[in-house]
Amino acid sequence: MSFFLSHFNYIAVAILMMAGLFVLFSSGNLIKRMIGLAIFQTSTGLFYISLAKVFGGTAAIAVEPGSSEARELASRLDPAYVAQYGVDGVVYSNPLPHVLILTAIVVGVATLAVGLAIAVRVREAFGSVEADEIDVLSRVEATQPGPQA
């Protein structure tokens, strides 16, 4: 039980990831597939943020050593723990994964935008966003001669 509680974030990540992939593969609708993709990508964000969390850590904005704020932060934690992992008496969460996932979110938004734009064009060209109907129309296309210049 304690395993589940201490790994709660990661279980949520796994569920989100699987849910995203399931929607992605089970749905024939292009828009729904984009939704699945977005959920899948978002789960990565949660994964990275969970990695970054340090027990009792505060945001990675330098606190002046010895100030009342630093003392207050340190007083919530075991002094031995702070002495082992802290910087100037304060424990910080790791900011790097936040930065990384910020980049990944930007990449994800760009992908989503391109994907939705393509879905719009598919709708204009085929009159449908259902993968089955597009497949049928594509198969007809394969028997047609190519366009002439």
């Binding site: 990695l51 734009a117 393509i118 060209a125 497949d135 296309e141 210049a149």
Partner: protein, 507 residues
């Protein structure tokens, strides 16, 4: 041929920053091309940007030959904390490949885009093409695992849009681009998850630093999970069988400029990154790494080489034949790498370069003819050799090289693979290669038979010879196929130093 040790391609002031300029030049050109007032100007910007990047890649090649490794620290923050570019023999080989393919494709694009893409989109297509180049070169140059993901996606997002542009000629480009986007994004996300695991285990993103720390961690299940995610993610991007579903559509329906560039570079850079992770970043001595190479990589590569060659034999559309052939050749390359000897890696990487040159020749010859003909199916190419003899001959040279006819580059590439397999004592690899090569002969024969020996049906639309702007780069490529077939010292030198950089002193 050229000895890279004595190559001083650029003045020292430029050479010092060449690794960065190689990546940044196409990026700046991409912005400029998007703002260009006319298609003509954007084409000139595209050629200039690509040529400059290739020049810088040559400058880097000289430096790497002299110093072994070029490290470029960005912004004065020393690695492992800062982000660094790290180019060794392997990186140089792939960088030269990508940038020269970029030059050839951009030269070709001047003519092809006018018929294939609406005039109002030219500037944006050139911009996307240059972005794609930036991403691929950055991926090769970077020494940072997360940076590699960003560059991978920069190139991929450009590619998705460019594949979709093919809708003017063939509306199937749209669903193909959509599938590519879905698969590509899954691949990239898997890679990011893998990097997350590795970061959790090692606390670093710098590849060299990560390699040093992983060497002490090979029992960790976190590391093994990271390895699995990274390899599957890159396997999708590299079109490793059976994760290749996106490739035939994307290659077949894209505008020919994009097929040409993608066929030569896209899967190759992902193979590069996969090889870097499997052999370099992860301690190759580790049991899971070896198990992966022996029991996953090699069998899948062999299956892919045979199954996809077989599929190519039965395809009806000519560009789909070439696309399936590409997946099969990825199998050849991975088979070479999976031998895990310096000879095998060198043969696999030599094959990688050779296949890039062969496919770019074939797709360009086809693209040049299809500009006037617009044909797709094999039957529609009947008798093209009479109307467009120059393009058809170049196609034949490329096809002969693909099949591995002696005196061509393709023959040498296959020969080296077989030699390496025999040295490593892997007889079954030789058998697989023989079967796949036989199948290659079959589909190459089908294509050549249609183009050369079949008469065009009466009343069929007639092809015109490709314009000189297409024939010039095409014949340079076809000539290289023969030249390297006779004197392969240049690609051999590159492949050998790449293999040494990859496997070091390993057996």
């Amino acid at each position: 041929m050229i000895a890279f040790e004595t190559l001083h391609a650029a003045p020292p002031a430029l050479t010092a920053h060449a690794p960065l300029l190689m990546v940044v030049a196409p990026l700046i050109a991409a912005c400029a091309a998007a703002l260009a007032p006319s298609a003509r100007v954007s084409w000139m910007i595209s050629v200039t940007g690509s040529v400059f990047a290739a020049w810088m890649a040559l400058a880097v090649a000289g430096e790497v030959a002299r110093r072994g490794v070029v490290d470029y620290v960005i912004g004065g923050f020393a690695p492992p904390l800062g982000i660094a570019l790290h180019i060794d023999g392997l990186g140089v080989m792939v960088a030269l490949l990508v940038s020269s393919a970029g030059v050839m494709a951009s030269l070709y694009s001047g003519h092809s885009l006018t018929t294939e893409v609406g005039a109002e989109k030219h500037t944006l297509v050139q911009s996307g093409f240059l972005l794609c180049q930036t991403g691929l070169l950055g991926l090769v140059a970077t020494g940072d695992a997360f940076n590699a993901f960003v560059f991978l996606e920069v190139s991929s997002i450009g590619t998705y849009a460019l594949v979709a542009i093919g809708e003017k000629r063939d509306r199937r480009a749209l669903p193909a681009a959509f599938n590519y986007l879905i698969m590509g994004t899954i691949g990239a996300t898997f890679y990011v998850i893998g990097i997350g695991f590795l970061y959790a285990a090692t606390g670093t993103l710098n590849m060299a630093d990560m390699a040093a720390r992983l060497a002490t961690l090979d029992d960790s299940s976190v590391v093994q999970a990271g390895f699995a995610f990274v390899v599957v993610g890159l396997g999708i991007k590299a079109a490793m069988f059976p994760l290749h579903g996106w490739l035939p559509g994307a290659y077949s329906y894209a505008p020919s400029l994009i097929s040409i560039f993608l066929a030569a570079t896209a899967t190759k850079t992902s193979i590069y990154l996969m090889a870097r992770f499997v052999f370099d970043v992860f301690p190759y001595g580790a049991a899971f790494g070896q198990a992966f190479v022996t029991w996953v990589l090699a069998p899948l590569a062999a299956t892919g080489a045979i199954v996809c060659s077989l599929q190519a034999v039965f395809e009806k559309e000519i560009r789909r034949i070439l696309a399936f052939s590409s997946v099969a050749q990825v199998g050849f390359i991975l088979l070479g790498l999976s031998l895990a000897t310096v000879g095998g890696a060198s043969a696999g990487l030599f094959y990688l370069g050779a296949h890039a040159l062969i496919k770019i020749t074939l797709f360009m010859a086809l693209g040049g003819v299809a500009l006037s003909l617009g044909a797709r199916r094999l039957g529609e190419f009947a008798g093209v050799a009479r109307e467009a003899p120059w393009s058809a001959t170049a196609f034949a040279i490329g096809a002969a090289s693909l099949a591995g006819v002696p005196l061509t580059l393709g023959f040498l590439a296959k020969w080296r693979l077989i030699e390496a397999a025999l040295q490593a004592g892997a007889i079954w690899v030789v058998v697989v290669l023989a079967i796949a090569s036989l199948l290659t002969f079959l589909y190459v024969g089908r294509m050549l038979e249609a183009i050369f020996f079949r008469a065009a049906p009466a009343g069929a639309p007639r092809a015109r010879e490709a314009p000189v702007g297409v024939l010039a780069p095409l014949w340079v490529l076809a000539g290289l196929n023969i030249w390297f077939g006779l004197d392969a010292s240049l690609p051999e030198q590159l492949a050998n130093s790449a293999a040494r950089a990859l496997l070091g002193a390993a057996p």
